[in-house]
Amino acid sequence: MDKPFMEVITGFLSDTGFAQISWQQGIMIIVSFVLLYLAIKKEYEPMLLLPIAFGMLLANLPLAGLNDAPTGVYGEADFQPGGLLYYLYMGVKLGIYPPLIFMGVGAMTDFGPLIANPKSLLLGAAAQVGIFAAFILAILLKFPANVAASIGIIGGADGPTAIFVTSKLAPEYLGAIAVAAYSYMALVPIIQPPIMKALTTKEERQIVMEQLRPVSKLEKIVFPIIVTTLVSLLLPSAAPLLGMLMLGNLFRESLVVDRLSKTAQNELMNIITIFLGVTVGATATAENFLTPDTLKIIGLGLLAFAAGTAGGVILGKVMCKLSGGKINPLIGSAGVSAVPMAARVSQVVGQQENPGNFLLMHAMGPNVAGVIGSAIAAGVFLNLFG
């Protein structure tokens, strides 16, 4: 402050963002505006895409320092705290947010349709083929295996799973992968129908399925306990995601901890969604995002969704044959997860051929099975490359 006034002003001006912004940052800011438009106007998964886009905006404002790491040691004199998003990002980096979101998802999910028709699980398994198809192609495009696995998991159509895997295997790709995952989840009603129609005959699409048997309260309580135990023993690396998903579901189905169930699916989930979205978006700095890799990721993500859809429908056709025409193969596409969007797509495509056909309940089985399937695929990747 002893410097001449003009110098102070010059110094001050050179500290503005206008003096420091790079053209790449400018482009990223425009990208964030486009994503905000998609989130707000087009309602592409706004619950996450809006925070992601805003985080992207904040991270590309030069000098704002919201991502900065601290310097010095906490509690000592020379300590300079880091930026807000640096601290909130710890929940991603340490793998805390995605399992807690899964707990909330579990508390919101009714596994009844799956329990009533356990064969749905096969469709939820088949739809995971998209994950591995994208993985192979990513390897052939020279991505290292850990990045290829993170790209593949976009095909799981499950945001928290994609973020969990990517934050552990390839954190520098987190922004691009999260944006791709949530965008395609929003685009499921556009991506899936042509594939579903191309792979099925009119007769198959008209199949009306038998009503599901009622599921008792006790079966619903036992289900999350069994899944946690069995799958965690088979594949321990899937335990954080699946265990918390099933804990949330047990809160819901036990009927004795209503308070916890409501908090898990509302306030806790909302708080974490905000923190997760903004900080994941903030990893999309110009340096990380404006690379040819991002375009490849977007392409591979689309392919993963398409392949997963096809995988589900094709197994659906096989099961249709084997069951003597009792299963409508359209419910197979719901196996990609993207709950409950993909199940609604099955319903809508089915009704187009036969207005009296209600497939939604039947499609919810593969749909929630797809969540379990993706978590298992994620566990395989974490086991191999983590």
């Binding site: 052939l140 079966e219 799958v231």
Partner: protein, 128 residues
């Protein structure tokens, strides 16, 4: 290149294999559980049928279960109340009930100020 393709195919086989093995195992376990539970429930039902003929004994045998059944009754009651209220609002609005849903009608919460409730009853009783 070929080596990478082979490696990635291995991963695919391993991955899809794990997914299918896990989920098929899950199918088995769900079906077994279902059978076991249905068997025990049918036994329960028989017990209940039997018990209903000897109501005094029923109390003793199914003591633990009576609570959960009471719960169901309450839930059904609540649904009935909600239906009535919905109908009333709909009637006054001259609309179909498809459109409006009364989400919840709360009763006195059970856990929190339990002694308040009793205290209130006491005070009411005291004034009678």
């Amino acid at each position: 290149m070929l080596e990478q393709l082979l490696m990635s195919l291995k991963v695919m086989v391993l991955g899809m294999g794990t997914v299918f093995v896990s989920l098929i195992a899950l199918i088995w376990v769900i079906e077994i559980t279902n059978k076991v539970l249905n068997m025990s429930q049918q036994r329960d039902k028989q017990d209940i049928n039997h018990a209903q003929k000897n109501p005094n004994k029923a109390e003793a045998v199914n003591g633990n279960f009576s609570e959960s059944r009471r719960d169901d009754t309450i839930q059904e009651d609540e649904e009935e109340i909600i239906a009535v209220i919905t109908a009333a609002i709909a009637a006054s609005l001259n609309r179909s009930t498809h459109d409006i849903v009364v989400r919840s009608v709360k009763r006195v919460p059970y856990n929190t100020p339990a002694w308040n409730r009793v205290g209130r009853n006491q005070q009411i009783a005291g004034r009678l």
